[in-house]
Amino acid sequence: MKSKLLYSSVVALSVLMAAPVSAAVKIGMITTLTTKAGYLGEDIRDGFKLAIEQGGGKLGNVDVELMVEDDGRKPGKGRQIAERYIKSDKVKIMTGIVFSNVAMAVVPKVVKDNVFYISPNAGPSALAGKGCHENYFNAAWQNDNLHEVMGQYVTDAGFKSAYILAPNYPAGKDALAGFKRFYKGKVVGEVYTKLGQSDYAAELANLRSTKPDAVFFFLPGGMGINFLKQYSQAGLNKTTPVFGPAFSFDARILKAVGDAAVGVHNGSQWNFDLDNATNKQFVSAFKEKYGRMPTLYASQGYDTANLIGSALKATGGEPQNMVDFRKALEKANFDSVRGNFRFGNNHHPVQDLYVREVVKDSTGIHNKTVKKVFSNHQDAYAGSCNL
């Protein structure tokens, strides 16, 4: 009886995992669609899909088949999906991972197996410096970038002291390190909060008592929503300006935070109002197809798809010849919604970084680009990469 059950499940599994026969180039997307952070993966996927749809089911004139699966934000599960993509589906190109911890579990393994991994989001420092790899590309940013731009901006704006906080995990520590790399004032408080924390009353009270000139925070997802709401409810937004990376100010978070975010300056590599033809076309197409404003995640998904498309076009299909395909990717010969875009030696972007301001007008609450702070900015780890 038991063996019968096992047998049938094994058969079911094999049938399920048997790949349909097709000539299309397969792209495996491992992303986070469930948990609280599900909307990040959703936007990356939708941006990516938009690019495929605009190419009529093709990227770079080559038929592609996009496979998407949810990693539930669990590194182990991400690893499992990657293994299946490689072994059963013979995927040669992967993308999609949202979180650094999932990326750390998946990327080093798959690039060793001669698979190209192009990151639409996570850019942990461990993969940008010594751990860089010829098959790993990041089309979004190195994790520190959006914090570095804020460090520079807050310095330029003349704030003498800053209180900074982030969750107690590697990306949080990288964030504060990135900010401090470019911030020349005095850091009067450096606080690490619990991952997933909801109540920030204690931190806010401490913050008020140290009387900083500015506050910088990196609290992605719901944590940032909690923080911003409570920051303004405590009346702090009237006395002390707050700064952060774009992660807490994307179009969807702004909807959930409301007026509490208005006036905040945040750092980004992209905004919907960047003035270039590709971007205008992307923003209106995205709005039309999905009925919502694109976020930076969607823009990164879209760019990733077009980057892959450019390499497929150059090599004429499936990356048979690894060297050619890699060279084509390195050229980054595509129209980015960010305008200026190229890869550095470590396969991470060299790009312009902006500061945006959250404004409220008749169309609602959105970001307005205020200033380009860095031109052709490269991450701090490129030097230790041997590529």
Partner: protein
């Protein structure tokens, strides 16, 4: 010193928030001897419905009423459809079934509302802040949460000790078959208690919605804390839940507020990060110590 008082107030406020959520859970636990992991789901339903209604109608009172009704109704349906079959079962069966309910509710909200976190503003009337201590403005809304927590505590005390329903609830908790023999319809009593518990959770959700992010899965982050609260307090005891909630709120808040500075005096590097881990562990340490000395919690029912 002023800062310390403010932090204590913050701790109490978090405690009352936790109490709102724990009261329903401990009631269900005590009366029906049922482990309900899905309690946080009703909290989530309350928050989602309130945010939606508020967005559409701009009326906090209407949002509150609709949310309470929906959370209570969800609780009632869950009891009738699923949990009613499980009273005589092992606790573990209840764990598995209510775990299934969590999955169902989380994915359900994602399917209905999408993955976008929702927005709810503080009602106009309660949005300002008052200067309770010199130089320290405190949000009115947080004071209101404290007041509501107190009111619910008193209300539950009166309900349980001074009404006919309360008498039945107490009787049902101590001797099931006896009260059934006395002609009380135990089925409906249980449905009612469960719906009441869900309604309280929904209430907590409504109150939390303007302060916290309204997102799918918001129930679980707080569920574990709630369990800690009722176990510290003693399962089934509303008084215990109140005390447990305040203890947890204070330990958590004061730990976050003062541990980093405290540690900095002893270690120079990495103190912030170590303090963060220690304060995350704080409430679990509290629970382990209390259970080590009082294996049935502070006020065993």
């Amino acid at each position: 010193m002023l800062l310390f008082i403010e932090q204590v107030l913050n701790g109490l406020q978090l405690g009352f928030m936790l109490f709102l959520l724990s009261a329903g859970l401990t009631l269900v636990f005590g009366v029906m001897n049922l482990i309900n992991l899905a309690h946080g789901s009703f909290y989530m339903v309350g928050a989602y419905v309130a945010a939606t209604v508020m967005q559409a109608s701009d009326s906090f009172v209407l949002a509150l009423l609709v949310a309470l009704f929906t959370a209570g109704l969800c609780g009632f349906l869950v009891e009738v459809i699923v949990l009613r079959h499980l009273y005589k079962r092992d606790h573990l069966d209840q764990v598995l079934a209510t775990f299934g309910l969590i999955l169902f509710f989380n994915e359900g909200t994602r399917m209905i509302w999408g993955r976008q976190p929702l927005f709810m503003q503080v009602p106009e009337l309660l949005s300002g802040s008052v200067e309770i201590l010199p130089g320290i403005p405190y949000p009115v809304y947080r004071l209101v949460i404290i007041a509501i927590g107190l009111a619910v505590a008193i209300g539950l005390y009166l309900l349980i000790n001074h009404t006919r329903l309360g008498m039945r609830i107490r009787a049902g908790a101590s001797n099931r078959s006896m009260i059934a023999a006395l002609g009380v319809n135990i089925r409906w009593l249980y449905s009612l208690v469960f719906a009441l518990g869900a309604l309280l959770a929904g209430f907590a959700g409504v109150m939390a919605a303007p302060v916290f992010a309204v997102e799918s899965g918001m129930g679980e982050s707080i569920l574990i804390l709630t369990f800690v609260v009722i176990v510290i307090g003693g399962i089934g005891s509303v008084k215990g839940a109140l005390l447990g909630a305040l203890l947890v709120g204070l330990v958590d808040t004061l730990g976050r507020a003062f541990l980093p500075d405290l540690l900095q005096m002893f270690i120079s590097s990495g103190a912030n990060s170590i303090a963060a881990s220690l304060s995350s562990m704080g409430i679990y340490l509290l629970m382990a110590v209390i259970l080590a000395f009082k294996p049935r919690g502070l006020f065993p029912a």
